[in-house]
Symmetry: C3
Subunit: 264 residues, 3 copies
């Protein structure tokens, strides 16, 4: 029988979990032994933190200042950096390691053994297959699915990697073994595959290169990608240098006048 | 510390919440202060009602006769009309106002600041972006995603509006700024955009107009759209006049013999 | 008022539920009267088992050895065979009957009155419409949606049936009335419809037949479908004979040299 920590009268917090200062745990939440919650962490109602995985029970580290919203499940064997923010009903499985200030939307699912950089933003219903590698400042919009099996079902394992600053729009599917280059842009509903160059825009059921992100312009406002030209909300000031370096690298990738190779 | 209402021994109901007559609250559910539950409301197990939003805590009003199924989350600052019915694991964020008898399926997510009319039916995994405006008698089927940012990520905000009686089928994506006219029909998997006329049928990755709903006929039964021709289940009798007016307006929109403009 | 079983101090287990030996029930889980949990069943935190359906409360049977992960909801009137395994936040509605060792991923939803065979594997966000019939050894990947209404909304009911050993890849939509033949393969993002022959590969927005599964080969490894050629993980040895018979039947369906009928 687990012994509960009686400081959290309405929750099920193991007496063996390590709890930082000013931690809040909502009614009904379960925090298993082996979990370390950093200072000022908020765990919402009915979450389960440190869920063991097939009998294995590793430690789980949640960095300082995290907000984990209700009904979320974080497995044991997970290390999440400071200022994490999850939506409701999020699942993060064993072996996932994420950097600073990851934000994950409602109903998203990180299937484990994933490496995720700093300041990533995932919206709702994002499904990241086991073994994926994701850089810094990556945007995954609703219903993006990242796969890993090229001949389903099989034992072949070809995980995806997504480089810094890439943007994957609503409902895109990333096929096994895809590499998405720095700052690339995957349009809504695309089935992306293969090698996607730095700064490329891909679209359609074959994931063809159709443009360079530099040519993504909003007519009404004149705003122009790469996105770090005009969007910095939610990033601390000390990100500016990294974002600026990414911006330059993406712009530099647009060397040809006729980038539209994918259309010929 | 919140003081719990001891009439609900298995749940966490704030003593400051206003509770109507014959209200039921399932085990583990959390009802915050500032919530008003109308008469005969049922709150399922493990729901969270009146969740505050970034420190702001407005009131939350759930109309009489609502059934909120387990694991659902309703934020503070929400006003939901009578006879609401949610599936399980539904999320409704702050600033959403809905009319009578909204029905929302499992795992759906209304992202806030949305205005929703009467008698809407949303199936599962429906994601409605912040700021959307939705009329009466609107049908959104599974995995429909309603967006609002035309150059993601950006600060540009172009929410969608969907008029009375429109039908959006499984897996359609509604691009930012789209206006879906009265009784229009968006086929499964469509990426819809721009101005969709009253009664139009749109389909495909460009959301082209391919038909008028009047020409949607089921061969086996002879049933023919607009849907209020043959479907009234679940609507109270006093809706008939409103449905009849919609039906006439949709039929009247099919004036040309050659409506199929989108195909030329 | 329900009387709780005090052997499960942290959960809400009806004293009238039938509980097998070595059953575990996680904190906050609700188990209603009329539920029978077989031996060694594990019910995760915050699950709801035996939820009644519109006032009707039938019995619910969960076979021996089942693992039901947290936040899942199983309605009354459901019969699930032994060795069931669900992910988190799964919903299974009334009238569903499933065979042995069904595995269902996170956020999947079986809408009721479905018949499901043995050893099926459903990944996450799988939505199975009411009344579907699914054979043995069927694979449904993430976001697969199985529909049933050909003229939504209408009272017409044309459920789908999926035969033994079929594989439906990520994000495919199965239109109403579709019959997927034995061992057929539906590619990612396909909108499948009509009669899909044994062993056929279908793809694209029209669900055209583009190949026979025998011609699905992974170049790097030389592995070749049908999948039971090379994949047997997770099936007990006594399945081998059934899988072998399926394999032979699928191979035998590729009689013509020019199977690619769908492309001409």
């Amino acid at each position: 029988m687990t012994k509960w920590n009686h400081l959290f009268a309405d929750a099920f917090v193991s007496a063996e979990a390590e709890i930082g200062v000013s931690v809040e745990v909502g009614p009904g939440a379960v925090v298993h032994s082996g979990v370390r919650l950093g200072d000022h962490v908020q765990v919402g109602p009915h979450c389960v933190i440190g869920q063991d995985s097939q009998g294995k029970s590793d430690s789980t580290t949640i960095g300082a200042g995290a907000i984990i919203r209700s009904h979320s499940v974080v497995y044991s064997g997970v290390v999440l950096g400071p200022q994490l923010e999850t939506g409701h009903h999020v699942v993060i499985r064993d072996g996932t390691i994420a950097g600073e200030n990851l934000r994950i939307g409602n109903f998203s699912d990180i299937e484990g053994q994933c490496s995720i950089g700093d300041y990533c933003r995932f919206h709702g219903y994002v499904h990241i297959g086991r073994g994926s590698t994701i850089g810094d400042f990556v945007w995954l919009y609703s219903l993006v699915t990242v796969t890993n099996d090229p001949l389903p079902p099989s034992e072949i394992f070809e995980p995806v990697s997504i480089d810094h600053g890439a943007v994957v729009c609503v409902g895109a599917t990333i096929m096994p073994g895809t590499h998405i280059g720095i700052g690339a842009f995957v349009c809504a509903g695309t089935i992306a595959r293969g090698e996607i160059p730095t700064g490329a825009v891909v679209a359609g059921p074959d994931g063809s290169v159709v443009n360079h992100v530099k040519r993504l312009v909003h007519l009404g406002t004149g705003l122009q990608h790469p996105w770090m030209n005009h969007f910095r909300r939610g990033f601390p000031e000390d990100c500016n240098e990294r974002l600026e370096a990414l911006r330059r690298e993406i712009l530099a990738s647009c060397v040809e006048d006729d980038f539209l190779g994918g259309r010929r």
